[in-house]
């Protein structure tokens, strides 16, 4: 297996646990989160929020719990990931609080309060994930279960009664008082399914077919899984009108497929299929066309287009807000983010850009970039194929989601509805992303943990046998 090199052939690099570093970074992240909350109070209401002590304590408690959980359950995990997401989540809370104040929301229906509850659930699920998945390889057993689960999750919103259509996209379900986007759960399940499936079938799919322009194209008979994923993505696009998720799931699959097979041909074929699908969707469905038209010429549809319905108001107000903010922003409380509809979810980036400027947005993008980088680094040091593909999928999901949503709201690509990971208001997304981080930390812990005993040739032989067993799905460690 390429993922494993006999330790005797090179000096063994033993990772340190680095939990102390994580704690220091976490303190910085808390300073950002609580500091931002105080800054919002000072900027908007000219006083430190009265509940800052309670709020700060709660945030500290959550993150200390997460940190202790990592210390106990995944002591060798990457030390940068948790502080990064803690910072983004804490900062996002402050911004949502600011947007609550702008909207004049009362205490009880404040989004920040609900988001804090979701964050709590997220951290709890983060700890549970670390606890019930002591070894990420156990997840490979659930390859097909996860795939089936994802499909069920995707179908749920289409069902009557529990399914709910909000703002044109049918991606919600009603669970009593709360709405939930099962697509976010499906995202995690799909990553597990892709990684599990490709870890087993990578050799077959890597067989080269025709060579064209220096790229080995895959064999026609191996196109099955790709075609299936393509159909599922298009179905999401057409039936649920969810351009963002469609793009995300399909992109995830193509990327994982490419990494598993090491064949660029898959990207070419996948890209062509996708382009064809998008072109067909463009000519067939008006809701896709509208997205592209408002992207190409937003001011033609501002405040409304000639038809009196199509509007690019959200996009244009976001662009106005960001340019109004400029380099350093207007400062908390001095912007007018209430002009942007849904500023606390999809359009949180323009709202931040308006009040904190380009500087803050570049810093945030850097944080996302670092999360992706730490995720991919985890994939590189991972000791098994499934672990590699799993972390590639998880990291890519963050990268793609960030690109699609930030690119959409800043006019780089057509606008699609997706939340900004960890920043946006939205329980399903936040919880799912905390689970993603837990899984990444799990793989990273497994990869960085020193091998149990000093490896001798005999041990190595035993290990290799074990890994062969793993591929047959009979891993019992």
């Amino acid at each position: 297996m390429s993922g494993f090199t006999p330790a005797s052939s090179m000096p063994v690099f033993v990772h340190r646990s680095r939990r102390g570093a994580e704690l220091v970074l976490l303190i910085l992240a808390l300073a950002v989160g609580i500091g931002a909350y105080a800054a919002v109070g000072l900027g908007v209401q000219e006083k430190i929020p009265v509940d800052i002590v309670g709020y700060g304590t709660w945030l500290v408690a959550l993150l200390v719990a997460a940190h202790i959980g990592v210390r106990l359950l995944a002591p060798y995990a990457d030390p940068v990931l948790l502080p990064l997401v803690a910072m983004l989540n804490g900062f996002g809370l402050a911004v949502i609080h600011r947007l609550d104040l702008a909207a004049g929301a009362s205490e009880s229906d404040a989004f920040a309060r609900q988001q804090l509850i979701w964050m709590t659930i997220g951290v709890v699920l983060f700890l549970i994930t670390l606890f019930v998945v002591p070894d990420h390889r156990t997840l490979q057993r659930f390859t097909y279960t996860a795939g089936l689960g994802a499909v069920v999750m995707l179908i749920l919103p289409m069902l009557p009664i529990i399914g709910k259509q909000i703002n044109g996209a049918r991606i919600w379900i009603n669970l009593g008082p709360v709405s939930f986007q099962p697509g976010e759960v499906a995202k995690v399940l799909l990553v597990i399914c892709f990684a599990g499936y490709l870890a087993v079938h990578r050799d077959a799919l890597a067989l080269a077919g025709r060579r064209f322009a220096g790229i080995d194209l895959p064999r026609g008979r191996d196109l099955g899984p790709l075609l299936m994923m393509w159909v599922i993505s298009l179905a999401i696009l057409v039936l649920q009108r969810d351009l963002g998720s469609s793009l995300l799931f399909y992109g995830l699959f193509v990327v994982t497929l490419y990494v598993a097979t090491e064949r660029k041909g898959w990207i070419v074929v996948g890209g062509l299929l996708f382009a064809g699908g998008v072109f067909a969707a463009l000519s067939l469905f008006s809701h896709v066309r509208v997205r592209v038209f408002t992207w190409l010429d937003p001011f033609k549809y501002y405040p409304v287009g000639d038809d009196g319905v199509t509007s690019s108001g959200q996009l244009v107000e976001g662009l106005f807000g960001m340019s109004w903010g400029g380099m350093i922003g207007r400062g908390f409380g001095s912007g007018e983010p209430w002009r942007i509809p849904y500023a606390n979810s999809d359009f949180i980036i323009p709202a931040i850009g308006e009040e904190l400027g380009l500087t803050a947005l570049l810093a945030l993008l850097l944080c996302y970039g670092l999360i992706v980088e730490r995720g991919l680094r985890t994939a590189i040091v991972a000791r098994d194929d499934f672990g590699k593909l799993l972390s590639v999928g998880l990291a890519t999901s963050v990268a793609l989601q960030t690109f699609v949503v930030v690119g959409g709201v800043t006019g780089l690509i057509p606008l699609t509805g997706l939340t900004t990971p960890f920043l946006s208001y939205g329980g399903s997304s936040l919880v799912a992303n905390w689970v993603i981080v837990a899984l990444l930390l799990r793989v990273s812990d497994q990869s960085r943990r020193p091998l149990p005993t000093a490896p001798s040739d005999e041990d190595l032989a035993a290990e290799e046998t074990q890994i062969v067993k793993l591929d047959k799905g009979a891993m019992t460690k």
């Binding site: 960001m322 380099m327 007018e336 380009l358 993008l365 980088e373 194929d385 690119g407 780089l412």
Partner: protein, 488 residues
């Protein structure tokens, strides 16, 4: 699998760099493009809810910002009221800005680059940015006289007047009636602002118009000053030169004649040019118009400012015109300020001012000084001439001045005579259509030997009987009052 993962890392890097570059483009390079858009409510509302600078006449603010209790924080008010409304214009939420509020917006709002250092200081000291002040060239006494004179004409009157200082081009007064109350449009009660605006917009007398610069009408006999100037310059005439003074002038190529207003001769078949101006002799100037070439007349009109847009400080200006004429008949009618010659009151004041200033027409300006919120002078209006100067030679200007003084002393413009001061003036009564009453004009300057003020008055519509309308009777007393205010 590590090789594709590394490739993937580069791919992700490219995605993030693309996002960062695009953000930099939106928030830095293209930001001013977004911020300059008229449909950007953030910018318009900020403009609406900030402390703008004052518009000042002397020490008195005619437009200022007062703190208000609502979310806009500042309410624009106009202590200058109706008298100054054509100058200040208004600043409203729904209907934008007009007048000085519009033309000097960048200074008043503090966004002008001249105020850059002040903005920087405001930023560092974290104080609310305040706009600069605009000090006008208006002389409040002359403006009072102008406004009182126009309102004394009565209700349902459309009239305007302008006064300028001939040596500099400073605009000393600018009034137009009917006028409006800018406070009613600037109010934060948008429903009431809409009602006021709708009422003003559908009023047939067009109260929102600043007629002194935005209404160009046939100037009638006041244009004979330009014809006389062209005759002296091009035909070598002076005040004693003989011109035709018969009762009627045959227009070649037409069935019609050009008669004098009262149908009699101007005092004989042959009269002096001075006499022709004194009695405003149509036949005399009509024949001069045919004697001169159309180019000579056109050049003379343009030298006085016709066809030029010389007004930067307030706008939009209706540009006065002396269009091409086809044939002698049209030239004759154009020479007495009919045909398709049109002029604004400001333009006719500039004709007088040019003669008063020895032939040099100065560029009119309204903004005397721009000061920062801390009253440092940031910009100062500078007297310059308009294009194509001098309009006439010094000698020609002196001849014309004598002729105009004589017109006040012995002729039609006697209404403007001031005891102990020699006044130069010219009346005008322009026929419009058969259905409409004629337009009454008057232009003058004083003192003739060392002029300090040039005035033009235009009455577009008045309650006066048609037969009673004459430039001298309607405009003369107003011009007189304004000149007295300036001289005393």
């Amino acid at each position: 699998m590590n090789r594709p993962i590394r490739t993937l890392s580069v791919g992700c890097l490219i995605l993030f760099v693309a996002l960062m570059l695009n953000l930099t483009y939106v928030q830095f390079f293209k930001a001013s493009w977004y911020n300059d858009r008229a449909d950007n409510r953030r910018v318009t509302e900020e403009a609406y809810s900030q402390q703008r600078g004052d518009i000042l006449v002397g020490k008195k603010a005619i437009a200022t910002s007062k703190p208000s209790d609502d979310k806009y924080e500042w309410q624009r008010t106009y202590p200058g009221g109706k008298k100054y409304a054509p100058i200040t214009g208004f600043m409203s939420y729904s209907y934008g800005q007009t007048g000085i509020e519009r033309s000097q917006d960048s200074v008043l709002s503090g966004q002008d680059n001249k105020l850059f250092t002040n903005r920087l200081v405001d930023l560092v000291t974290n104080s609310e940015p305040a706009g600069g002040n605009v000090e006008l060239t208006i002389d409040s006494k002359v403006q009072d006289a102008a406004y009182e004179g126009l309102t004394a004409l009565g209700e349902d009157v459309q009239a305007a007047t302008v006064a300028i200082e001939p040596k500099t081009g400073r605009i000393l007064a600018m009034a137009s009636t009917p006028t409006f109350n800018p406070d009613k449009l600037a109010t934060h009660d948008f429903g009431s602002a809409k009602k006021s605006y709708d009422q003003l917009a559908k009023d047939d007398n067009e109260p929102l118009l600043n007629r002194s610069i935005q209404t160009a009408l046939p100037p009638g006999s006041t244009f004979k000053l330009v014809t006389a100037a062209a005759a002296i310059e091009n035909l070598g005439m002076d005040g004693d030169s003989k011109v035709y003074g018969g009762a009627s002038l045959d227009l070649p190529g037409t069935d019609t004649d050009l008669p004098n207003l009262n149908g009699t001769s101007c005092g004989g078949e042959e009269i002096t040019l001075t006499r022709a101006l004194e009695v405003s002799c149509n036949t005399a100037f009509g024949s001069l118009g045919m004697e001169l070439s159309d180019e000579e007349m056109q050049d003379q009109a343009e030298a006085f400012g016709f066809g030029q847009d010389y007004l930067d400080d307030i706008g939009p200006l209706a540009v006065s015109q002396y269009p091409d004429n086809d044939g002698k008949a049209e030239q004759a009618r154009a020479a007495i300020g009919q045909q398709s010659v049109i002029a604004t009151p400001l333009q006719m004041a500039m004709v007088s001012a040019g003669i008063a200033n020895g032939g040099e027409v100065m560029k009119p300006y309204l903004v005397d000084r721009v000061t920062s919120s801390s009253l440092d002078v940031i910009d100062q209006g500078n007297p310059t001439t308009i294009d194509n100067q001098p309009a006439v030679s010094q000698d020609t200007a002196e001849i014309l001045t004598q002729m105009m003084v004589s017109t006040v002393d012995n002729g039609t413009a006697e209404a403007a005579a001031i005891d102990g001061v020699s006044v130069a003036g010219k009346t005008g009564t322009a026929q419009s259509t058969k259905e409409r009453a004629p337009y009454a004009w008057f232009t003058s300057f004083a003192p003739a030997e060392n002029p300090s003020i040039a005035v033009a008055v235009m009455v577009q519509k008045s309650g006066t009987e048609r037969s009673e309308i004459a430039g001298g009777r309607l405009g003369g007393p107003i011009a007189k009052a304004m000149m007295e205010a300036a001289i005393s």
